[in-house]
């Protein structure tokens, strides 16, 4: 990795010197546009960062209201790593102010998954029970209306143990993430079926959490342990020359870039071996299509859908491959979302003090879904899908689900 560009990790903090205070990040920040509690990425980022020295406390608490959506970094014309600087500064702020029990819990989806799966009917009932949710809000600060996924009851990993992928010249390792494992195993199964349908063999490594929720909540030490452990699980596949594809776009971004940049793990050899092999599933399928390897003999899907590219998907810097893939499906009317963010930003919108902000951020997306009378909303990130379903009542699916259907597999 060379470091001659401002987008290199070693120059991340120093990138603030490239800030010319042009206000473009402020214009695009979805949070500061709906609440005065967050003064915007420029103030708490490149400006405040100059006052944050190693031995002194962070100058402002408003940093906590940054949702880590990353849009500021995406739009910056000068390559300043605004979101990354802010996420690091917030972790330092949290070390000083402390980590509430709530944040320690919601930052560990594997823990909740393992506890909830065996008692799924009971857990799902409890999550839908208003008095219990009000109690959880009071005791933990988890907003009683915040969107919660349903436990599937049986994990994808359990299914995977019995699944043998047919022999194929090209094989990939599937990084399905916690969301698909505990809540949406059907999405993971569709992904396997779609890849196999296109002649790709699928290995399903045992795997844990990528550490992103821990990182977002400022628990960097624990996040690093999770990332390292996940890299350990995936590295044999990378060493065998296999690409690693994932359906959770924020989790693949974590392995691609964020853990190296934000958690400063550039010295982790395992992660450095895994990271260059990681692809978002739509990115991977579109590359297959470019090589003529994708079966595009699609059946019509006579629907109107809104496609929302989540912030974390945009963080990949790969454009919107899902749009190009869905354009190949006959009779599918795809409306591109005008909104940059649905608001939830992983665990942000679950918190009592942030739930309403998250709902306000998503308004333009929710209105667009209603205005276009979309049959479904297509979105690459699970927490965003749950937020969109919660706010609009319209079913939200991953792009893979549309392609799976169009391929005649479902």
């Amino acid at each position: 990795m060379d470091h001659d560009d401002v987008l290199g990790p070693l120059l991340m903090r120093e990138s603030l010197d490239h800030c010319v205070k042009c206000t473009i990040c402020e214009t695009y920040c979805p949070v500061s546009n709906v609440t005065p509690l967050f003064p915007g990425p420029k103030y708490v980022g490149p400006q405040a960062e100059r006052f944050r020295t190693a031995d002194e406390p962070s100058p402002d608490a408003s940093l906590d209201y940054c949702s880590s959506c990353g849009i500021c970094t995406q739009v910056c014309p000068h390559g300043v790593h605004i979101a990354e600087i802010n996420t690091q500064a917030r972790a330092k702020l949290r070390q000083r102010t402390g980590f509430p029990l709530r944040d320690r819990i919601i930052a560990r989806p594997t823990l909740a998954g393992r506890l909830g799966t065996p008692v799924a009917p009971l857990a799902n009932w409890a999550l839908a029970n208003r008095p219990l949710r009000l109690l959880a809000e009071k005791l933990l600060g988890l907003h009683h209306r915040a969107p919660m996924p349903k436990f599937a009851g049986s994990t994808f990993q359990r299914w995977a143990r019995k699944h043998a992928s047919p022999a194929a010249a090209r094989r990939v390792a599937f990084f399905h993430g916690c969301g698909a494992n505990y809540y949406e195993p059907s999405l993971a199964k569709m992904t396997v079926a779609l890849l196999e349908h296109n002649g790709v063999g699928v290995e399903i490594p045992k795997q844990g959490c990528c550490g992103l929720p821990l990182q977002s909540n400022g628990l960097f030490d624990d996040a690093r342990k999770y990332v390292h452990k996940l890299a350990e699980a995936l590295v044999p596949y990378a060493r065998a020359g296999m690409d690693i594809v994932g359906t959770s776009t924020s989790c693949t971004l974590m392995l691609k870039r964020e853990a190296l940049e934000i958690l400063g793990m550039e010295d982790d050899e395992l992660l450095r071996t895994v990271s260059p092999r990681v692809y978002d599933i739509s990115e991977y399928l579109l590359a297959m299509h470019d090589r003529g390897e994708l079966d595009t003999d699609f059946r019509p899907v006579p629907e109107t859908v809104t496609y929302h590219a989540p912030c974390q998907q945009q963080g990949h810097g790969i454009g919107k491959p899902a749009l190009e893939l869905m354009a190949l499906v006959p009779e599918l009317e795809v409306v591109e979302s005008v909104a940059s963010c649905c608001g939830v930003a992983g665990t942000y919108g679950l918190k009592r003090e942030k739930y309403q902000i998250a709902m306000d951020v998503g308004v333009s997306l929710f209105e667009q879904v209603a205005d276009t009378r979309s049959d479904e909303v297509v979105c690459d990130s699970e927490t965003c899908r749950w937020q969109i379903e919660h706010a609009t009542g319209v079913k939200s699916v991953h792009p893979v689900e549309i392609l799976h259907r169009a391929s005649g597999l479902g």
């Binding site: 987008l7 990790p9 206000t23 473009i24 739009v75 014309p77 390559g79 870039r257 790969i318 919107k320």
Partner: protein, 417 residues
Amino acid sequence: MRRYDAIVIGLGLAGLTAALRLAEGGARVLVLAKGVGATHLSSSTIDVLGYAPAAVERPREALPGFIAEHPDHPYARVGVDAIAEAIEWFKGRVDYSGSLEANLLLATAVGALRPSAVVPRSMAHGDLRGGGKLAAVGFATLKDFYPALFADSLRRAGVEARAITLELPPERRADANALAFARALDGAAYRDRLVEALAGQLGDAERVAFPAVLGYNAAPEVLEALEARLGRPVFEVPTLPPSVPGIRLHRTLLTALRRAGAAVRLNNVVVGAEGGERVESLRVRVGLREERVAASWVVLATGGFASGGLELDSRWQARETALGLPVSGAPAPGEPRFEPDYFAHHPFNAAGIAVDGELRPLDGSGRRVYENVLVAGATLAGSEPWKEKSGDGISLATGYAAAGLVLGAPAVAEARS
């Protein structure tokens, strides 16, 4: 590796223009940009030629003489007809008025008068060539527009102007910048409060000037509502960034670009090219990776020194950052680079990429560097846009011309037919 008909590098006015014309023309276009371009920061007016060096009243008449005197200017490369065509093309896609025939005289936020050829409809009533009697309305919490200063400067220039300062901070905003006011004015409730606050204050003013905050998503509706309810023409005066009319222009062009089927990727930094006489592929830094993207044509529209398209190191060596093209016109070490007077001729200002009549980059001996690379916008050598008031015109005309050269090239023309 994907192959596009054209890759446009940069998302400012030149890049947007080139990409949109290419995509509308049926080319498969990819736009690569580090971030959102400088259109966001601009006043959004299309200044074609304001000073040469005396104030220009009729740009179309003045341009041939200007080009003859400035043979290395980007306008000399594309010619007057292309400039005129570009403007007509642009006006077909945005809600602008004015023309190349005559410059309007608009007021800046400090009340100085500046010539501009084509302006957003919301600014057209601000043409002060014939003087006028106007009221300038500002907001106490909006730091970027002081109506008293604005009106005072205009009075010195012979325009009757009166200042009105209103309270009315928009709600739920930590920092009441122009964008916050624009979003507030999208809503009928805030507009009602504004109209009520102005009741009886406008007196005999023929026109009303506002900072450029008249609507973000609902700009045409806001202008119409205010003109109807105040009973007289209303116009916007551009302010410091965030420039609301600049953002509107960017969004209009970007929406058209997406509809025309172009792909746009942000945080994609072009760091080099592979190939010989032709660029075969670009090396692009995406996050921590370096990828290759192939295209038949490349339009370089990354901006000048201010936007990072050109860079100057501590030894005063200038470089073009994306493809490493030779920079022309940069004074050698030891030679004068800047003059003390701001409006003087600064030798460094004209530094940039020298091109031939088909916008191909040239090296020091005047030979084409690449056959399939075209350069547009502020990266080009030979102009002093701040003095000439020509920056937007250069970006628009060269972006438009670059797209035309690609669309007219035999290979692309064949693929389209």
